[in-house]
């Protein structure tokens, strides 16, 4: 299987879906002539022309709304946000229109649109450009929220997202675009709403998604050296949540650590902890532990940024805590 980078995996997904369905088009800031701020749309303008690969002005609310309108009349827009920090400007279109059109129209309209772009820390970009916003979008009924970790999952889920008839929030990570992995060539679609057990063990379950998967994997390797074996569950889709996969793993391990890049308050991990206390109460041998970014704004200063980030060491400590092991 060819090994390619995240950005190439996304490029494949976009290219294949645009070939497959003429209604699919890409729009966003610098997606066309500049080939994308992160080079995800490399070569797409040449291949599909300026009617289907559209440069938008710096007006997130405007082009998000344009995308919603296009979806209403039958096209399948992919709207690239240069980062999800900028997409906060487009919240009204995403939340009030995309998420609610089907409901407001009594089912007569649908909104097959994908909003995608990098989410989370970018590496010393300071507080306005380092936010993990998945919990915000997961809050609203009507939106599906996807946050894959590997290039293969990114390709498979983006293809599934473009084919879905509902508005999708597709969260990438700036720091993952260069990460390489094996990706199946051609048709490779991963169902929305299915988590992936990326590592199996019986001592504890680490639940995570997106870039934090790599931190969790590193922690799992460190734990392995101490004879602790974890289930590493990569959610891939945050909403709808794969409850079955979570509960199956917890029934086996009885202990859970949720790792989340964003802040802890009202985070996705809080929702998972709620699920567990409700549906797996009698399976828990320890309170659910959460490892999250600290509840402060991310700093530009490297030392301060590192101090507030999730680390493999913090995950290791949390796993030992739920196992009632001494943390050395």
């Amino acid at each position: 299987m060819p090994e390619i980078a995240w950005r190439e995996a996304l490029n494949q997904a976009l290219s294949e879906e645009m070939e497959r369905d003429v209604n699919v088009f890409l729009m966003g800031e610098e997606v066309a002539r500049y080939n994308g701020a992160y080079k995800v749309s490399q070569g797409l303008l040449d291949k599909f022309g300026s009617a289907r690969v559209v440069d938008a002005p710096i007006s997130e609310l405007g082009f998000a709304g344009l995308g919603v309108g296009a979806a209403m009349v039958g096209l399948r827009p992919v709207i690239e946000m240069m980062t999800w920090n900028f997409a906060i400007l487009a919240m009204d279109q995403i939340v009030n229109n995309a998420a609610k059109l089907r409901h407001m129209a009594g089912g007569q309209l649908r909104c097959p649109i994908v909003f995608r772009g990098p989410n989370g820390a970018g590496g010393r970009l300071s507080s306005q450009h380092s936010q993990s916003l998945e919990a915000n979008y997961a809050h609203f009924p009507g939106l599906k929220v996807l946050a894959p970790s590997t290039p293969a999952d990114a390709k498979g889920l983006l293809k599934a997202a473009i084919r879905d008839d509902n508005p999708i929030i597709f969260l990438e990570a700036e720091l993952l675009y260069g990460v390489k992995g094996e990706v199946p060539a051609g048709e490779h679609v991963i169902p929305i709403g299915k988590a992936d057990l990326k590592r199996e063990g019986s001592d504890a379950t680490i639940i995570t998604w997106s870039r934090m998967y790599y931190f969790a994997e590193q922690a799992a390797q460190m734990l392995e050296k101490e004879g602790i074996h974890v289930d590493l569950l990569d959610l891939r889709t945050l909403k709808p949540l794969d409850e079955e996969a979570i509960l199956t793993s917890v029934k086996k391990t009885n202990r859970v650590v949720v790792v989340e890049e964003g802040w802890s308050f009202c985070g996705v991990g809080a929702q998972i902890a709620d699920l567990l206390q409700n549906k797996a109460f009698d399976e828990l041998d320890a309170p659910v532990e959460r490892v999250t970014g600290l509840d402060v704004n991310r700093s530009y200063a490297a030392v301060l940024e590192k101090a507030t980030e999730v680390s493999a060491e913090r995950i290791v400590a949390a796993v030992k805590k739920v196992m009632y092991r001494e943390v050395t």
Binding site: N254, F281, D282, E283, L284, D285, A286, Y324
Partner: protein
């Protein structure tokens, strides 16, 4: 200055506790944190520890007696100190030694306001303040939800388990260790397919008065709970199918020996022997006393005109089948004539009710109080059953045990039926 030792609440539902044993005598010196008495609560036996250094001056609640939570059970003070008017457990205490105000419901003792003035009260150090910390917090057991579930499934009393988690929380590994060390209650373990070949309780020859068994705290709680849910005599039911091929052969053999024996006589005999081997079923709740019988007396339900009556076959476990047969025919005959004496249908702890002659497959019978159980048997009929992977036709009978849940539990009922089944399926076991 002398301080009073009060009976602490050692479990959330504990309202009183029985002093099982004083670990210190009057005049013994005691030190802070030392166990001075063992108390039976509604859950288990726990130790009461002293909060003070000194001498145990006076024991106010002797061994075997019960005190209310908060009642003064002893006085501790300096050697030679006079105990002034040792307040008995129930009397109003002197103002100088006023007990701590009772905490409001839901407020833990710790958070309750301490009385102003000289602190002469709260002589009990609660268990968890000692090291190693037992997993209790003001009577509340600290255990993970999983540990609680595992303990429930294994019949393990968590109060006896030492927790290794934070603040003494009992976690999975502690329960696993306890199960490994065999702390689980015997009844909770699924018994093997055959009753344990434990030493067979010896039959009693001659009549003996039943023992009055003290009602344990747990039994009392179970009894209250069951009666709350099902007022009166709270019944539970356990049913088993019994292969009767061998039992029917016994009847033929008896016939050949010119002894008249019915299937019902065999059932009565087996019910009696099973009761001998499961003596915990041979009980009766009368008022708030549990009577443990020594003799095995089995009632037989006899339908008579406009009703039924249950004459009792005394010592049915040691009578021969022929005797049981003759007696039951004679009792039934007089029952139909309404010529039974009251003592002939009183007593016993179990009744056999048989509707087999009406072709009934199975039914559920109502206990005849103050008996504790009844066995309802249906007809012996040919049924298709699976034996070693093959469907075969066997003469089969269903028996349903109804138990008084205030004094008999489901596992015990099941063990009783298991014994009955074994006896009827291999009637030679009746000889052992």
């Amino acid at each position: 200055m002398a301080t009073e030792v009060q009976l602490p609440a050692l479990s959330p539902t504990m309202t009183e506790g029985k002093i099982v044993k004083w670990l210190k005598k009057e005049g013994d010196s005691v030190s802070s944190g030392e166990a001075i008495a063992e108390v039976e609560t509604d859950k288990s036996n726990l130790e009461v520890e002293s909060f003070d250094d000194g001498v145990l001056l006076k024991i106010l609640v002797p061994e075997g007696e019960t005190g209310k939570v908060g009642a003064t059970i002893a006085v501790i003070g300096a050697k030679g100190e006079k105990v002034e008017a040792p307040a008995p457990a129930k009397a109003a205490p002197a103002p100088a030694a006023k007990p701590a105000p009772k905490p409001a419901p839901g407020v833990s003792e710790e958070r309750a306001p301490k009385p102003a003035g000289p602190a002469q009260v709260v002589p009990i150090r609660r268990a968890e303040e000692q090291a190693p910390a037992p997993s209790e917090d003001n009577g509340r057991l600290r255990a993970s939800p999983l540990a609680k579930r595992m303990a429930r499934e294994e019949g393990l009393d968590l109060a006896a388990v030492q927790g290794s988690g934070p603040s003494g929380r009992i976690v999975k590994r502690d329960v696993e260790a306890a199960i490994g060390s065999g702390q689980t209650a015997a009844v909770a373990r699924a018994p093997a397919s055959r009753p344990a070949p434990a030493p067979t309780p010896v039959p009693v020859f001659g009549r003996r008065e039943p023992d009055v068994v003290p009602v344990s705290g747990m039994r009392k709680i179970i009894s209250q709970r069951m009666a709350e849910v099902k007022p009166g005599v709270p019944h539970f039911y356990v049913t088993v199918d019994i292969d009767m091929e061998e039992a029917l052969k016994v009847r033929e053999q008896a016939k050949a020996a010119e002894v008249k024996v019915s299937v019902n006589d065999l059932i009565v005999k087996a019910a009696a022997v099973a009761l001998r081997r499961q003596p915990k079923v041979n009980v009766s709740l009368q008022g708030d006393r549990i009577l443990q019988f020594h003799n095995v007396d089995v009632g037989i339900a006899v339908a008579i005109e406009d009703g039924l009556i249950t004459p009792v076959i005394r010592d049915a476990d040691i009578k021969t089948l022929g005797t049981i047969s003759a007696e039951s025919r004679e009792l039934a005959e007089r029952a139909r004539r309404k010529a039974l004496k009251p003592e002939e249908y009183a007593g016993g702890s179990i009744t056999v009710s048989n509707l087999g002659m009406f072709g009934v497959d199975s039914f559920i019978a109502v206990i005849n109080p103050p008996q504790a159980s009844i066995v309802a048997v249906g007809a012996v009929a040919e049924r298709a059953v699976v034996r070693e992977g093959k469907v075969v036709v066997r003469k089969t009978m269903s028996a349903t045990f109804s138990g008084d849940h205030r004094i008999v539990d489901g596992a015990l009922g099941a063990q009783y039926l298991q014994e009955l089944k074994a006896l009827l399926e291999q009637p030679t076991r009746l000889l052992f």
